[in-house]
């Protein structure tokens, strides 16, 4: 069997704590994009509703049986616990030919950030207005030149998806920002 590595190039996901900030690398979530095929919007909605998959509005993340966040018009990213395995096959079974489904698990590195107050960290990284954003906001944002997805679960709890090949750069940027707030 071939052995998989995490985006940071190790065998296990890393958790780093810097001052009051914790950066948790997550390796237990599988991802796939789901895009509605033209004229199949109603079918996709029906299939999603039946399977308990939320299809949130623009700029939003939602959790049902599975979780999902909005990527683009008529396109979402579906989050599935990795242990449940073949995400594309599973979603194809649900949506059939009503949607285009592409596995995205290995395209991203996921970091969950937590701290009593994440605004000082985020304001050094991204133009995202964390203070004003409501819980469940999901947006693309640029961090250190890298296009990332940023999901606000709560005032102390954020998920970041960044391009996998730049996982080390992104982790470094997060660490530097946290260090400048010690």
């Amino acid at each position: 069997m071939l052995e998989a590595l995490t985006p940071l190039g190790l065998t296990e996901p890393q958790t780093v704590t810097i001052g009051r900030f914790t950066i948790i690398e997550r390796g237990d979530v599988a991802l796939a994009s789901l895009a509605t095929r033209r004229t199949r919007q109603a079918d996709v909605s029906a299939c999603a509703a039946k399977a308990g998959i939320p299809l949130p509005a623009p700029g939003r993340h939602a959790t049902g049986t599975l979780a999902a966040f909005w990527l683009a018009p008529q396109m979402w990213m579906i989050e599935v616990p990795f242990a449940q395995a073949d995400i594309r096959a599973d979603l194809l079974a649900i949506f059939g030919d009503a949607a285009s489904i592409t596995e995205q698990t290995d395209a991203w590195v996921r970091f969950d950030l937590s701290a009593p107050d994440l605004i000082p960290l985020l304001e050094r990284l991204s133009n995202f207005d964390l203070g004003r954003a409501t819980e469940g906001t999901a947006t693309r944002s640029v961090i250190d030149h890298l296009g990332c997805y940023l999901i606000k679960h709560g005032p102390c709890d954020i998920t970041l998806y960044g391009p996998r090949s730049s996982a080390q750069t992104l982790h470094h940027a997060l660490s530097v920002a946290a260090n400048s707030l010690l």
Partner: protein, 982 residues
Amino acid sequence: MTQTNRIQGGQIDRSQSLRFHFDGQPYLGHPGDTLASALLANGVRLMGRSFKYHRPRGVISAGSEEPNALVELRSGARQEPNTRATVAELFDGLSARSQNRWPSLRFDAMAINDRFSNFLTAGFYYKTFMWPAAFWEKLYEPIIRRAAGLGSLSRLEDPDTYDKGFLHCDLLIIGAGPAGLQAALTAGRSGARVILADEDFRMGGRLNAETLALGDQSGADWAAGAVAELASLANVRLLARTTILGAFDHGIYSAVERVSDHLAQPLPGRPRQTLWRIYSQRALLTAGATERPIPFENNDRPGVMLAGALRAYANRWGVAVGQRVAVFTNNDDGLRTARDLAAKGVDVVAVIDPREGGDLLPGIRHLRGAEVVDCAGRLGLTSITIRDAKGRLETLACDALGTSGGWNPNLNIASHHRSQPAWSEALAAFIPGQGGPLGLTSAGAAAGLFSTHACLVSGDASARAALESLGFTATAQALPQAEDAPVAIKPHWYVHSGKGRAWVDPQNDVTIKDIKLAHQENFAGIEHLKRYTTLGMGTDQGKTGNVIGLAVMAELTGQSIPQTGTTTYRPPYTPVALGALAGRGRGQDFKPKRLTPSHKWATEQGAVFVEVGYWLRSQWLPRAGETTWRQSVDREVLQTRKSVGICDVTTLGKIDIQGTDAGAFLDRVYANTFSTLAIGKCRYGLMLREDGMVFDDGTTARMGEHEYIMTTTTANAVNVFRHLEFCRQCLWPDLDVQLISTTEAWAQYSVAGPNARKLLQKLVDQDISNVAFPFMAAGEITVQGTRARLFRISFSGELAFEIAMPTSYGDALIRALVAAGQEFDVVVYGTETLGVLRIEKGHVAGNELNGQSTALNMGLGKMVSTKKDAIGTALSRRVGLTRDTGLRLVGVKPVDPDNSMQAGSHFLKTGAAATALNDDGWLTSTVYSPHLGHYIALGYLKNGTARIGERMRVVNLLNQTEVAVEIVSPHFIDPTGERLRA
């Protein structure tokens, strides 16, 4: 040394002493001091030398407008030139040096320039160094460069770091004087998100420098109370030591926060400064006003200062700049200086007031209708000469003179969108005009409202107006009682007497005479005046001098001041360190890194990496004993062609294209046809721009009825995706096609060479024989049970496959491939070998895909289908692009196999002179072919296809090389493609 000039009072902490050095001399100051206030407290008036004449100079202001007191702060790698002593916050151990002098501040050899001032007038450089032209580069420029400049750089790398960040607010308030503080209180109490920024380390603005009361408190105490309340509000962000640098579109402002400048060095991890990008819904400019002097002969001597600064040093810092002080003012505000200093027991020898009539100051010698016409004291003021209302001259001994010609509202930020300031006759000053940055209003002194009462009222009202326009409910606040004196001023732009020089811009040594000369030589337009004389072009950007300069020009031209106009206000408001603009983006952190899936393994092998965009790719992988890159590359090439080689090709862009119209979509974005491609097959595709030039190429595989995987070149991955989205959304919005990038999701390796199949078959669970998996096949496979993809495509010309696995298995896959290849003596090769292999095969790449080449140029003309409309096909058929005489891709080899060739060399017929007229094309790619044992090249040659076999020259005029060559087919290896299909 003792603080001889320190007097009672002020907002300094006398319980602590801070040691500091200036030009090597030790001094003491207190927390709350600036370097300027501490030097003045110690009796140091001489702080620098001027730019051109090297005249002795002292501080003239108490703020960021300071033109004179520029010092080199700190030492070693932290040395910072041109730091204004007036804003440098004192810390224990601070060291500073004066600059622009040699060998010492008191004796400066370059002061000889002052004796030649008749020659060094405006336009001197333009007139003197014009000819002979040849002298400029070798003679004039080096001399000027040596003499020019103010401070010096350490030339050491800055050891500190700088952060960048983003802030959001409903209301940004720029300046924390009475208007700004009141606006922040009003807005903060309403619940709006407020940012209050002030360049000073102590908020309060002029309230800290005046003795005026607010209600039953001193101004400084009221300010401190306001700051304390604001600090307690969660919705208010106080940014002290923060300068708003400029206004940008739609409520965006930039600011630099000096996080650690007041410390000897930053705390661990902390930045020196932070550059903020502030997104505001509304902004309020409450930046106060800057006083201007009244130029008179020799007015640049140390000890001649702005009247408001003299008062600020006394009131805020407890410093009497002189023992005997005079005041020269044309307005009532200047009289406050005399009153405050006298109240503090300083000897005020006279107030010289050019205005006729009016009340006299009680208990002070107040000369109405008088002027200061000259002064004396080489290294510091010793006396002034005054002319009274009757024309009598009198010399008065004094060691400090405060001058006030009125106050200019700090309207820079309001004018950053080229809004023209408006002229106020009542204030004799410009005030913010119409049409400034959208969402920005001005209040307080910045709006020309100079009384404390007016500042509070306008701050409160402006904040409410801004918030109400955003839907907040803001209530009018009870305001403390404050002075409401009217502005009483009579313009007195300069003293019209004497033959000597009167300085308008002391930093750049621009005098009234220079302005007159500029006018005389017809550089009368205000922007011309600026460039010709350098008025306002120093580090202070003319904050004290510009309005005087244009008033003088107005007088000379007979135009009004508003007709004369101002120069353009541009960011930044005050100088910014380049480090702050760079932020963390320097050295290794200049840009992000993208690591390929084989990066960890390649690092272990000692691979040499090359930057390709953000990617780091293996360039070659040296083995023990190899000392040059060519040895490694030759080995990699030969072994690949002989047995098998592996290359990480993950960096190629991958785009997942699905939908019932995916095939039709591809037919429109590729010049050739894809809708007919069989499932489980891939095809080389050529993508054109609309103008008919080749945009990109790559292979696209059909994985299902409505599923394709497109590959792009590494360089164009982002551009192609953007283009496809444009086509999908803007051109054919109803095609059923969905796109997503999968570049990052898959690790992909090329396995090429005669033993490629044997190697792969050891790992792949399915049959990949030539029958089961023929040339150009594509399919889903498994590798030891884990899902993967296989494509039988070749860039090298060999039997080759590209195998892809989810990126997390990329490291395991390279290790498995190398292990499985042991028996074949497999090599892993980098981008250099990739280049050699493709040039040997005659495949085009970036050098040929240069944005000005068509498919026809590349020998791929037949790929452009005439049966369908695809992007670029129509214009690719233009007559000018399809002539037989046009450029065609050819192969090139040297006649003498020992000769090398250089890319960029041009084709010339044998015997033709090396002129543009005879140019027949150029070499695009050259490389040493270890397989052939000599250099080979690809090139674009006019009518090239018909010239195979012709002997020519390739000439490189830059490197002075010329090589005799023979034109050959671009396919040096296996022209019939037998190896690919083996």
